[in-house]
Amino acid sequence: MSLTEPFRLLAFLLGTLAFVGFNAAYLVLVERKGAARIQRRPGPTEVGYAGLLQPIADGIKLLSKQLIVPPGADATLFRVAPVLVLAPALMCLATIPFGESLVARNINVGLVMVFAFGSINVMAIMLGGWASRNKYAIISAARIVSQDVAYEIPMLLVVITLLMITGTMDLQEIVRQQAGGFWNWNLFRLSANPLMPVTFVIFYICMLAETNRAPFDMAEAESELVAGAFTEYAGMGFGVFFMAEYANIVVGCCVATLLFLGGWQSPIGLWPGVFWFLVKMYALVFSVIWIRWTFPRTQFYNLLNLSWKILIPVSLFILLLSAVMIKIFRV
């Protein structure tokens, strides 16, 4: 370890924190603006030029509110839960390569680490709901668990398919294999498996469900229910959950970009760099927002049916198909 290593890590820590904070704050604005555009409204316009300072105003408002712990609630767990939701997203970003050399810590099992920390999110929301001592929060927390468990399975099956094709869990190596142009991306790697685009769609749907986004957000259902598992949270406790939602979307879109869309590789084979990674990642983030304001919320039974009756069988079939193709063509 060289002398500069601690400084490098500190720089990455600060960078990651700033990146997540900035994204969480400004994606809320992008979401509101996006929703407004789709509904032919202008969205926030009053705070700053074109509403650009709105997230800061929202943040100040949330910070100035009292953090109320409901009587009889488990105060420690209640306070820890928001942190536990946000922290895994930050951890995941440590191993995500933004560019050829721009990664906090590249490890050869980076993909496993991302999914391991991604799963903590579920437990933290459940803790939050449980510690609130509120029946609505507990019911909603139970729903979140069954939803996320149901969607973890097809997601991991899809990722295993991808791992069999790439043969590595090193995220940088996975991206390096996709160099050259968009026809080399895993999304279009039809020689390995003709159903690769379907794989991407399954991954994307699972990512929406894992991050509890519309149309799979009946756990929170802000337009009908109170706030699901976050019912009892006030002020910045709720704010952190809110930030975590967007941080998790960013992490999910980062992973989707790395696994399927060639990470920092250029789609036309020219000038690979961080720029392309951000373009692809934010395009995915935009599509997440677009989907939220297009589709109504699904029913809970339909949500589970979609996972157990469609996504899991299809992803199992894709897994078997790619296994067979690897056996036949690559012996």
Binding site: A36, W290, W293
Partner: protein, 147 residues
């Protein structure tokens, strides 16, 4: 098997259609009027609270204090008093007040008026901190607005 696969494909294409619709909508111009900064012009038949019409010749009200409006009002929100001044052929109002808290904007007063001395305003920006803000002295309103 074949049916359910077809269902998945049909469902997926319908989702894409929905996304195309919302994307197309998002490129159309917004329809919002930024209310405090700009406001819509009220249509000609909008019913705000009533006001007295000015006689273009004399600059005074057309009202002859006949009290038909007072009688016609179903919620008793008009109070009219008048007297016959020297050298005038008709009576003229000395008091014409409206309790807008009771008014239901039915328009009976406007309809019944024999000299067409009443009309609706297009005033909708009404707010007050107590009830007395909505007790309008329409005669005074006519006089102060003239200047």
């Amino acid at each position: 098997m074949k049916n359910s696969l077809g269902e998945i494909v049909r469902g997926f294409t319908s989702l894409l259609t929905g996304m195309r619709v919302t994307l197309a909508q998002s490129f159309k111009p917004t329809v919002t009027v930024h209310y405090p900064h700009e406001s819509l012009k009220m249509p000609a038949r909008f019913r705000g609270h009533i006001e007295l019409v000015r006689d273009p010749e004399t600059g005074q009200s057309l009202c002859i204090a006949c009290k038909s409006c007072e009688k016609a009002c179903p919620s008793n929100c008009l109070f009219v008093e008048g007297l016959k001044r020297e050298g005038e052929k008709r009576k003229s109002p000395t008091q014409f007040s409206l309790d807008f808290t009771k008014c239901s904007l039915c328009g009976s007063c406007v309809e019944v008026c024999p000299t067409d001395a009443l009309r609706f305003t297009r005033n909708y920006n009404l707010a007050g901190t107590d009830k007395s803000a909505f007790l309008y002295d329409l005669l005074k309103r006519l006089q102060t607005e003239g200047r």
